[in-house]
């Protein structure tokens, strides 16, 4: 799976959590723009993990602030 495919799947997964229907760009911030709280983060990460069959540990999540960084991280985890 290449980056555009991963981007498309991730974009679909974020929709139920995008309460304010923001336009998602690579620089969209999960805390500042999407206003995710810790429980939302857990549910969203679980959705991503289940889709791609990967683990994104909390240590790795701490490095991910924006949508673009998330897609990059998934690309990297899928090797």
């Amino acid at each position: 799976m290449d980056r555009p495919d991963i981007d498309a799947s991730t974009r679909a997964l974020i929709e139920p959590f995008n309460k304010k229907s923001l336009e998602i760009t690579d620089s969209t911030s999960f805390t500042d723009d999407l206003e995710f709280d810790s429980l939302t983060v857990m549910d969203f990460v679980a959705a991503i993990e289940d889709e791609f069959d990967i683990i994104i540990s909390m240590n790795q999540q701490a490095e991910i602030e924006t949508y673009g960084q998330l897609v990059d991280a998934v690309v990297k985890l899928l090797g």
Binding site: L39, A46, E49, D53, I54, M58, N59
Partner: protein, 399 residues
Amino acid sequence: MTDLFSKFDDIIEMRRALLATGVEDPFNLVMERVLSPTVAICNGRETILLGTYNYMGMTFDPDVIAAGKEALDLFGSGTTGSRVLNGTYVGHREVEQALKDFYAMEHAMVFSTGYQANLGIISTIAGKGDYIVLDIDSHASIWDGCKLGDAEVVPFRHNDIEAMEKRLKRIPEGAGKLVILEGVYSMMGDIAPLREMVGIAKANGAMVLVDEAHSMGFIGPNGRGVAEDQGVLDQVDFVIGTFSKSVGTVGGFCVSNHPKFEVLRLVCRPYVFTASLPPSVVATAATSIRKLMHVHNKRQHLWENSRKLHAGIMALGFTLGTATPQSAIIAVIMPDLERGATMWEALLHEGLYVNLARPPATPANMTLLRCSLCAEHTADQVERIIGIFERAGKSAGII
């Protein structure tokens, strides 16, 4: 200069706004006199205590108090040293033996608090490159232990067996795995499906740590906790517990059958770099633990209290954290912090103390009035408590 305290501004404002409503400060209560495990003088009023972790009412047990006084006379007020230097007295060995007997396990290690037990054991056994899989509603001491140890931390939705299993199966081959669960989750008072979860953890090659802080003494045939009650204690690698709840004093511990367990006394920093418990504390703890092996009637009465209070408060129309009573904790869910604080104050004015639990300590940002029962609460006290909830609930406009 950047004020390092500016990060607390939201909390300062939340507290200011709450107190501006004129409510009595829920986080500044003073117990002026304690008359028994269930009654104290709080802010000048005689008050029924329904928000302590004194589940078995051991704090005023005559044998426990006598043991503490004797140890004060014989060994002095404190050890002034670490367990691994000058801080291991005969009493520390005796309380560890009492724990080994209580749990029928090979090893027991006593810490100065329950918080330190989780902090120390978790951070020491799960280090960089290891994976910790844990419930999202885990206690702060568990989270802090994860952070201190630098392992990869993978949480799953509360009590979700399938979510836990999926995460375990995705951990890279060969990595060390620790699953952390609690017997009773103290905010809602619900128990974990340990039979299924522990089985799955072991099948996936993980070690299992279960925090039984809120179950010791009254859950399970021998009071060893939820893992014993569900028949999986023999598969649990580490049980964490505390002296500050059913045992009735302060301190924390880990019991285990791991053959190399004793090495932790040398490598566990929250054990090594802190003063050991005072002799009077370990003497009261040892006496209390030994008595907790033979308290079947008290256990039964505590369960009667729990069932009666749960049914009574539910019948009044309150929303509770669990559909059935699962432990000695009954969580009453409040619509929001302001009305929760109003209700808490109304209860206090009627002579009843419960815990007001608020975000971020609570799951899903709920405000809870958390009631914890004691085996020493009489049936009459439980009746009065239900009456107080009815009057306070009506005056606060919750029911």
